[in-house]
Symmetry: C5
Subunit: 369 residues, 5 copies
């Protein structure tokens, strides 16, 4: 348990810090979704060279929107091919590859040879089941880099092992859904909304843990509680570090004046912004609550120490004088008159009980027992 | 007691976090109040379909204001019917249903087919009697969503079990009251004022509790005090989390330039804003005060520990050397000259009293007794 | 002492929170001062109805300034009469009656039927002697509401038991004083200056107390010290809660563009603003200092505990082994060779002294004695 | 030592708070320096009346700059004479006499009868040797009030016992130095630069003390350390309280558009501003460092307590059971078989050593020894 | 180890504070790199007088960029020669020589006789191996002063013992690299990027240490841990003090409108800015984490104390009453009936075991064992 916790630790802090450049080039998984108000089609791209030379299907050319999702950042061929085809700015490409970056939004203006695009970095958090992890879960962070064009959205994810976009995909495949009838920037909104909404169940999980820890602190404060509070605070620190720049980023998009961003999307993004603010509120509240728990735990510990001290004091106070008395009558003085008294032994016990009784009464009065 | 506290806990944190979508569709309670400077009428709507096809009463058409209040958010038919009739923006409708949202104000501009409306989310706090709750009360939070139109105000409450709007209703039914002679936005002001004013008795309740806890800490610091401080801090955390965005929201309305908002209302809203700021001041002061109490409690605890240690030390210091001396004269050495002395036993007691007296005098001088 | 402190407590927190609406209507005391550069006259108004129908004295009509001061907020007749005569805004009248409000400034623009006035709420703090209070003093807070017109200043105080305006009155009665030769807004400045300047002796009182408490903490940390620090922190919390909005209020006036405010007054108000900032600086410094004192007290307590523990340890370490040895030679084994040795008893004492000496030397070396 | 510290204390806090109006009027010391690019002359003024009626020396009339420095604020005649001659604003004169004021800058615009001047209040800190003071030094704060005119600079210091302007005087007396060839505002810059630069050696002094205290905390944490940290924190609090408004004041000057301020001076003042920011950085870092030291000290104290407890526990654990055993064989039961065994005594010692050995081994394993 | 730590300390705090003016003038090392898109040449300058009179090589005159790097600030001749040749502002020259300055950017506008230049102070941090240092490393801070002209970049470093610019030099020497084809301000970007990027491995080093310390705190909290946390916090304080002004400085450059700064560079500098923000985020997170560790350590310490207390209590509780009983039967009363009972001795042992058993059971139930 100790060890797991320790092994789990780097995953927590490190994953956000280290530039993990994997050793072997695993192939990236590319999924392309074309949709227009009438139609939606999903294809998986195997051959990147063939793909970038193809044109869009005819039905998609006028109104259609293309979403290209790339899972995995190690296949340089794929990234370079897409960067070239979609004229992505070299700095943006560097940022998407050197994870982790801080969530941000950057406009790249239309130039002679490059399309104007909005480049967005978001941080996707997920809680996955992990028997080794803290409270049976592990917090995973992943960078999602998004390029928004007029009719194209490119997203790049770090790892191929799942994301939070399934509801978006479902809505794209539903005829008449809002995402189908709106423009590309609405897809951007949908993706950001899906990312931000995933923070809520994570926080609810931590809220449940906090409740549980509070029960333990108030009822039976074990040393292991403080370790769990410690770990919880640390995970909240990570969520907080992700959520503050997310808020700034969303707020940055709403302030951005960019041809790719429609007014409708801007209205909807206010909602994402509100959610990001709410998440920060929750994180800060939980963090303060966890700090309060630590304080309460420490005072519970002091209380317990006090209680133990009381027992010690009571025993000492009662028996030490009596033991002294027994020692006195164990002395071998030749002339020790009490030894010869007939009722001395019974008188001794009498003194003992009276002394002990008086002391116990005195302790009760002082509120020590 | 322990258990109640624990069971009560989720009600505190969770209620603000969880999206509680009730399982069964209980019918919503709809109350409609029409009023003009001359007249006021209240009706309860049973059949929503009939209602939305009716026109307003004739006397109300020119000058009259209609306030529709919906209690309960589970009857989708009602909400959709009203949303359609009053052309509410889908995002706003989503926000009103997915409680809890952060208090906020959002203008929806007049478009071709939708009226321009101001959408406001407020958080209503109430303290209700609850023998199971903390200090016999339970803090309830409820979201109130308000749509302000030119002559119509719609309010949606989460639960049908009471609200803080009775003073507003009374004033509407009073001929010549300010709310009767003003426009719809003045009703909005009255509602927000009622919500914000309800925070004051809540804070006074906590102020009383703080006074009480302070007495306990200074006079008789029991371990249960720290639990109560802990719970109080937590409830203050919840009030604070509600009041900060309330302030922002009210300030947002006063800055908003919207055709539905009259200049008079803006002047009156400054008052609501002042109250919101005052509430935040109070919450922060109470929180600092509660933190100070925890510190004072911890030092009271240390003092008590010190006192117990003193008793232990005094007993040890007095009796341990004497017990050693008694042990010495209990030894069975053949050649132990003192044993044969005639006054040895009395000398022994003399030494005991002198030693003990000296020590007690020394402790007194050091200020330990 | 304990009890007094506790009874005194509500006076501290509560007075700022509770809307104290007194049960019986005690008559308000109204004092009117008319002055012009040449002349000043003070009258006490007994009959409010007669007063409001009178005109000003002739000499005062062109250049004269009238200051009406009302002590006590319970006589509704008086307040309503003045509100009607001077056309005070209903919201302002509400604010002045429902104490306590947060210090603030609100302009009421000139309308068809009402004069443009500046409405100001200030918080007056006074330390009055009170043998029951903390350190023989009690901190009283009182709301002063001020209406500034072109040639009239109205002030409303909560209680009739004294204020801080005597220096202002003296200056008005001094021919050639600055307040006499300037306009009505300069009187406003003088009043605010008097209120803010009264904060300084209060802070000096707390500064003296802090010095005294610091001496106690460093020289003889008694448990009562922490209670006094606790109370001091609390009073500082109250001063701080009054001074922050005072600063905002003064800064608000200097930014206000209002026909009643002259340029000269604005220049002088910068001085009041500087004083308010200085007060906040002092409060924050004292609060940090008090926090530091608590920490230092706690470590002094730990030191004392350590010292007591040392005594216990030394006694235990010296006597417990020796008592064991005495016990050994008190055993009744038939074959216990040392008992028959001739110098055994003297050897026993020798061992005792050598052991005790060695231990004391060892403790000295470790720095425990 | 205790007492000195206590007596020293008011000097620390009080000197910044109290308006010290000295009882007797000691004559102020007035020094006048005239300089132009070619020439510099210093004179001490004995007769203020004679001085204010004189004209400047001829060589100084066109290009010359006059710096009048007044040491001591108790000679009202001097101050009033200068205020009249140089048309200083009455509010500024009040501020310069009622020390301490918060550092600030205030422009007084040119009016019909008064020259436009810039009025600046700065806080000069000096560390002077004082065997009674903390670490052999005492921190002195003094207000310097500066009036900047076109060709005249007036400075007023609180006390005549030295200042930090000697380097400026030296540079004025050096032909070709920058201050000689620039205008009056450059002299202002030089004075502020001298004041701010004096903060650095003070902070270095505290930095040295912090290093020293850190050594003591880590190597031999004595109770006196905490008192010294406490005093150091307090002095840093004072430096901080001086340096924050100094930064604001300097920044205020650079933003001020005033005819007396040249562009060159503005460029140079950026440097003073940078230094003020650096000083605040240092103070904050030292304060955090001192807080860290307190924490480390407290944990060192706890460690020491733990160690003492360990010794107590070991002694108790080893000897108490053995003493019990010795007590058992000291009982006087008639039928106590072991007493008659031949090797019982040796067996007893054997048991003692084995028990003690086992316990010591067990403690070692748990890491308690 | 203690001592090293202490000796290492000044290097930490002091190096950032003290103006270290070395006693002897060691010659500065000057490296000049000329490059244009086609060509790059590096030369080391031995004779500064010869150098400043030379012209650039012909191929470099039109398009070429010259980077002059000076290592060591003690050779006044070199600095003055360069300052004269490149018309550096005297204030800037002072700032570059009086290390340490706070990182900043200052534009010096083009004047009649001086070129407009941008003057930048940056703080370079490096971790170098040092067996004496904390965790085998020492944190070195060095000021880098940069002058940006149209075609020239001058950099001044404090010490000649290495820098972080090797990657920049490598890229300059690579034909076709971005730095080769861009202007002088791009070289500035490259240098700042190299400086800021070096912060990341430093923070990763501290992150590793934090992980390690966390393991120690949770598994085996030794007193030395708190010293290491203390040192770590201190080093983070230094990194933080460097990184906040670095962020401001970079942000200042991006806001600066200066002819030497190209639009491309501005785009790239956003990246440096993002990294600086990320570094601050990391430092703050680590600092909070370290604070959490201290708290957790303190509670681990309390736990351990509690455990020791428990052992003491158990021993006391079990043996003290039994010892008393043994003392009773060691008394020498003539009439003590139990002494003559046949099974008394065995009954005594029975009582002992029953009492001890009961107590152990009771402790187990209370959760003390």
């Amino acid at each position: 348990m100790e060890l797991r916790h320790v092994r789990g630790a780097p995953a927590g802090i490190e994953q956000h810090e280290l530039k993990n450049l994997p050793s072997s080039e695993t192939p990236a998984k590319i999924t392309v979704i074309d949709y227009s108000p009438d139609r939606a089609e999903t294809q998986e791209v195997k051959d990147i060279q063939a793909f970038i030379t193809q044109h869009r299907p005819e039905w998609s050319q006028a109104q259609g929107i293309r979403w290209i999702n790339v899972d995995g950042l190690t296949d340089m061929k794929v990234i370079h091919a897409l960067a070239e085809k979609y004229e992505l700015h070299p700095l943006a490409v560097e940022d998407l590859m050197h994870v982790p970056q801080r969530p941000k939004v950057e406009p790249y203006p239309e130039t002679g040879q490059a399309h104007g695009r909005l480049f967005i970095i978001a941080r996707m958090l997920r809680l996955v089941d992990d028997p080794e992890g803290f409270a049976g879960k592990q917090l995973l962070g992943e960078q999602v880099s998004i390029f928004l064009g007029h009719k194209t959205v490119l997203t790049f994810q770090e790892r191929p092992d799942g994301d939070v976009f399934d509801p978006v995909r479902a809505r794209i495949n539903t005829a008449g859904s809002r995402v189908r009838v709106n423009d590309a920037s609405f897809l951007l909104y949908s993706l950001l909304d899906a990312i931000v909404d995933e923070y809520f169940p994570i926080l609810e999980h931590y809220s449940d843990l906090l409740e549980e820890l509070e029960d333990q602190v108030l009822e039976d404060p074990q040393p292991s509680v403080i370790e769990r509070i410690h770990t919880l605070k640390r995970e909240l620190l990570l969520v907080r570090r992700a959520s503050w720049p997310m808020r700034e980023m969303v707020s940055g998009i709403t302030r951005e004046v960019h041809p790719c961003l429609s007014e409708t999307t801007r209205t909807y993004l206010r909602d994402v912004y509100d959610h990001a603010v709410q998440i920060i509120d929750m994180v800060e509240t939980y963090r303060e609550f966890a700090s309060g728990l630590t304080e309460t735990y420490m005072s519970a510990l002091s209380n317990r120490m006090n209680q133990i001290m009381k027992v010690l004091t009571i025993i000492g106070t009662i028996f030490i004088p009596l033991t002294f008395l027994a020692g006195v009558y164990g002395m071998n003085f030749k002339y020790l008159p009490e030894l010869d008294w007939h009722w001395a032994y019974y008188a001794f016990w009498g003194i003992c009980f009276v002394t002990a009784g008086t002391m116990i009464w005195w302790f009760k009065r002082r509120g020590w027992i």
